[in-house]
């Protein structure tokens, strides 16, 4: 959920560019350059990962790339910290297969 009116901050900049991306096959919108996790939150998606051992749902916790709670598969590459990874047009975001599979092609 986004807010538009804030007493101090201005989030209505004209420089912001809306882009589309997919999450688990469905198309969503977000702003270019914001962290993927922020765009997911705006679209109401809070569950970002399943823990490797006990298979528990995990969400965003630290948002500064330290806690590994938000690791996801982005454009086929697993273990991407979605809290610090900037959103780009056409990104494919998915839950990763627990610890993450090796991508098919590594250049």
């Amino acid at each position: 959920m986004r807010f538009l009116d804030h007493p101090i901050l201005d989030f209505n900049s004209k420089d912001k560019k809306l882009v589309s991306f997919t999450f688990e096959g469905k198309t969503f919108n977000g702003y270019e350059g914001e962290p993927i996790a922020a765009a997911l939150h705006d679209n109401g998606i809070k569950k970002l990962r399943i823990s490797p051992k006990l298979k528990r749902n995990r969400g965003l916790f630290c948002a500064i790339g330290k806690c590994s709670s938000c690791l996801m598969k982005v454009d086929g590459i697993p273990n991407i910290r979605t809290c610090t990874e900037p959103l780009k047009q056409g990104m494919k975001v998915e839950y990763q297969n627990i610890k993450g599979d090796l991508p098919e092609v590594m250049s």
Partner: protein
């Protein structure tokens, strides 16, 4: 991107930026790296005004202080890389860096670790449920990207961060169900607590969180009264229908790199974790390796900025020729500011903590 730098600074928050700014007055070939997308650390999320005297940026908002620091840095002298992590330090001169594409080394004789801190978590049932956030994460989402985490929040911790973030959430139109504090007292400044009181947000002292419940995300939180030893008292539970639980229960210095580098580390309760021993110039037990900001003990941004300047200045002293009186002037100015910042009851903890890790050279 070069291989060799005069100074390498890890962390672009208030301490790292101040170190870079100070060092760039005397030398060049400075590398500043940060893991995040933007420089400024926690400052760029702080919409509230700072306290203290004019010399410590009082009545300025954190977001503006960060912009000022970033603007004053000369890019001919300081190279800034964002989205880069430091993954290892190898004595005496090598730091391992990684970004999405590659793993590489940089060499230098001087390193300043301004790596900040990470959010604490406390034990309660389902504390890993999506919808449980560190206060820093909530600030990042709402104050950097304009996204709020939910509709109704329970805040855990009535220190300054808990109080300030509650108010900031309110400013974004989020309802605050209450603020929960395990100690009998509100730890933060009363001016922040008063703002919440005016909005009739209840502050539950002598209470702690017991559990979070929900299918996929937080739907409910249960708190209970605690005794003087912080054990939960039976039959005192209160339930809240909330979709977000925000933890503002303290920070731990991020000192993994310093520890791995082999610095003498000490656990100091007042500084909130393991911190490297250092002298008054912020140099650790390893010559040429400096620490600054929260990584040297949890304090506030104003202290971090002064420590950063001190480390930046001393790192230059070993590289460039200084006029003796200029050197003494600069050092004693920063020392004086730090001392005045830590004077008074709020600085006592830091002063006592720092005594325990002091290196006399």
């Amino acid at each position: 991107m070069k291989d060799n730098y005069n100074i390498v600074i890890v962390g672009g928050g208030p301490a790292g930026l101040s170190a870079a700014l100070e060092a760039s007055k005397y030398t060049d070939k400075i590398l500043l790296i940060d893991e995040n997308l933007k420089a400024g650390g926690q400052l760029i999320k702080q919409t509230h005004k700072f306290f203290g005297s004019k010399n410590h940026h009082a009545s300025e908002r954190g977001i503006n202080i960060a912009q000022e620091l970033i603007k004053s840095i000369d890019s001919d002298k300081v190279e800034f890389l964002s989205g880069v992590s430091a993954s290892g330090f190898y004595k005496p001169h090598t730091l391992l860096l990684e970004d999405k594409e590659r793993l590489y080394r940089v060499n230098s004789d001087k390193f300043i670790f301004a790596t900040g801190a990470s959010e604490n978590i406390i034990p309660f049932v389902n504390n890993d449920l999506p919808g449980v956030y560190g206060a820093g994460a909530v600030q990042t989402l709402m104050n950097l990207y304009g996204v709020v985490p939910g509709k109704r929040v329970l805040m855990i911790g009535a220190g300054n961060i808990g109080l300030i973030v509650s108010y900031q959430l309110f400013q974004c139109g989020v309802e605050i169900a209450g603020v929960v504090e395990a100690s009998p007292y509100i730890g933060g400044y009363s001016v922040h607590a008063a703002k919440l009181r005016r909005m009739q947000i209840p502050i539950y002292t002598n209470h702690s969180i017991k559990a979070a419940y929900g299918d996929e995300c937080v739907e409910k939180a249960v708190i209970a009264e605690v005794d003087s030893r912080w054990n939960i008292i039976k039959n005192t539970e209160k339930e809240f229908d909330v979709d977000t639980i925000c933890l503002a229960v303290g920070l731990t210095p991020s000192t993994e790199l310093l520890s791995q580098a082999g610095c003498d580390m000490v656990y100091v309760r007042e500084l909130c974790g393991y911190v490297p021993k250092h002298d008054k110039f912020m140099e650790t037990s390893i010559s040429g390796v400096f620490v600054a900001g929260d990584a040297s003990g949890i304090e506030e941004a104003s202290a971090a900025m002064l420590e950063g300047r001190m480390a930046g200045l001393k790192a230059c002293y070993d590289i460039e020729k200084f006029n003796r009186s200029e050197w003494i002037n600069s050092i004693s100015h920063i020392e004086f500011e730090l001392k005045s910042l830590r004077s008074g009851p709020h600085g006592e903890k830091a002063v006592n903590g720092k005594k325990k890790i002091d290196i006399q050279r």
